[in-house]
Amino acid sequence: MKNRLKVLRAERDWTQADLANALAVSRQTANAIEKGKFDPSLPLAFKISRLFNLSVEEIFIDDEAS
């Protein structure tokens, strides 16, 4: 699943470590989600959406829908 995490993170001038800390996950996990290698669970996706004040659909792009 593609996502806009890298752009959103860059807009806020956050490092991957900052994002990982904010989500209480490892940097490896934050990196894997950002690169689209790992799809987060629904609770983690909602946590990400709350962090950026955006809806889940505004952050994650459903490959099958496009």
């Binding site: 490892s26 490896q28 996990t29 894997a32």
Partner: protein
Amino acid sequence: MTDNKHSETICTQHNNTNILNLALWTLAWVASTALLRFGAEYIWDYNAAYSIIVLITHLALGAAMIMVNVKHLANLDELQRKITMDAMGITLGVGLIAGIAYEQLEDIKLITFEPEINHLIMLMAFTYIISILIGNRKYT
């Protein structure tokens, strides 16, 4: 971000404490395995009472080790847990398939020695380590 960093630091400390706990309980269990195996022969001369006490201690330490491992798994984040669970699944499958095949080798006269459980444990340990390494590489 400061609060988040603080919470992450606490989270990491919890993980490190859990890993240390797991290592200590595993070490205790391994030591009790050695005591059970060699104690009867070299220390208490196969006295049944001592053997039963050490056996119960060995099983209790094993149960504690499992509980600590469950707690450790619960404290991993979801990707780390996935990597670990995948590795455990592969190890269980390899252990089952290879174990049954290995056990048959003597019966069908392909080997002349009796299959040893130690060989299976070593195979499972290597499988687990390699699976963890591949899992980590896959998500890096």
